[in-house]
Amino acid sequence: MTTTESNLQREHTGRSTAGGTGTRGTRVIGILTLIAMVWLVAFGLGFSPADRDQDEAVRILYVHVPTIWVAYLSFITTAIASGMYLFTKKKSLGWDRLAGASAEIGTVFVAVTLIVGALWGRITWGVFWQWDARLTTTALLFVTYIGYLAVRRLEGTHQQRARRSAVIGLIAVLEIPLVHWSVRLWRSLHQEATVLDTDRNTDMDGLMLFSLFVGVVAFTLLYLWLVMHRTRGMAMEDYLDDRGLDEALVARRAEGDAFVADHATMPTAAPAATLGTEETT
C-alpha cells in the first residue's frame, strides 16, 4: 500500500468531533472582547463628552481609530509571518496561514475604516472624501492587500502559495512607506484651509482618551479572536485540499494498475495483430 493510501485509510477511521475552531482560549478572549465592546459603546456613545470643535462627531473616532489600528496590526503580523515563513528552515505552513488570515482580516478592517472615515469626514469637513495624505495612502493600502489576497488564490501547491504571498507580503511593507512618503510630499504642496485641515490632531481630554483606549483594547482582543479562528479554519481547508489530491492520486493509480493488469493477460501474439485490437483508455 502506498503512503497515500495508508494516509487515507488512517484518516477515514479517525474520529471527528463536532465543534469547530473554538477552544477555551478563544472563548476567554471572546468573552473579554464582548465585555470590552460593551464598555466601548457605553463610553463612546454615552459617557464621553462631545468635542469642542467636532461636537458629537468625535464619537465616530472611537470605532474609526480602532479599526485602522487593527488593520495596521494585521498587516504587520502578515509581514512578520511572511518573513518567518521565508527565512526559517522548516518553512512551516502555519506561518503562511497566519499571514493569510491576518491579511484577510486587515483588508476587511481597512474597508470599514474607509467607509466610516467617509462618514466622519462628511460631518467634520463637509465632504466624503479628500485627497489628503492619510486617506490616499489608506485607499492604496486597501488595494495593495486586495492584490495580496489575489496572489494567494493563484493556482499551485500550498508551498507555492506560501512562497509567493510571503514575498508579496514583504514587498507590501516596502511599498506602503514609499507610497505614504510620496503622497505626503505631494499633499504638502496643497495646504488646505484650516477648516479642512486633516493633520490637525484632535485635542482630547481624559475621558475621551479613555474611550479611545477602550476601543483599541477591545478591537485588539477581537483581532486575536478572529485570527485564531481563521488560521485554524485555513489549516483544515489545506488539509482537505491535500486529501482531495490524495484521493485523486489513489484513483488514478488504481486505474493505471487495472490497465496494466488487463493487458498483462493478453496473448503475446504477432505484434501487428495485437496493435490492431488494443483498446485505448
Binding site: 484518516e11 479517525g14 474520529r15 471527528s16 468531533t17 463536532a18 465543534g19 469547530g20 475552531t21 473554538g22 477552544t23 465592546m37 459603546v41 463612546g44 456613545l45 461636537d55 458629537e56 462627531a57 464619537r59 465616530i60 470605532v63 474609526h64 479599526t67 482580516i105 476587511v108 470599514v112 467607509i115 466610516v116 462618514l119 466622519w120 462628511r122 460631518i123 477581537l222 479572536w225 478572529l226 485564531m228 479562528h229 481563521r230 485554524r232 479554519g233 489549516a235 483544515m236 481547508e237 488539509y239 482537505l240
Partner: protein
C-alpha cells in the same frame, strides 16, 4: 443632533461587519471540523 444618523450608522456598520466576519469564520470552522479528523486539529 442631526449627525446622530452618521454616528449610529458608523457604529452599526462597524459592529455588523465584525459580527458577519465572526459568524462566517465560526460557521466555516464548524463545517470543516466535521470533515477533518481530530488528530489534524492542532488546537484541541
Amino acid at each position: 443632533m442631526e449627525d446622530a444618523g452618521f454616528i449610529i450608522g458608523s457604529y452599526a456598520l462597524t459592529f455588523a461587519t465584525v459580527a458577519l466576519l465572526a459568524w462566517r469564520y465560526v460557521r466555516s470552522g464548524r463545517r470543516l471540523a466535521d470533515r477533518v479528523p481530530d488528530e489534524e486539529k492542532y488546537w484541541l
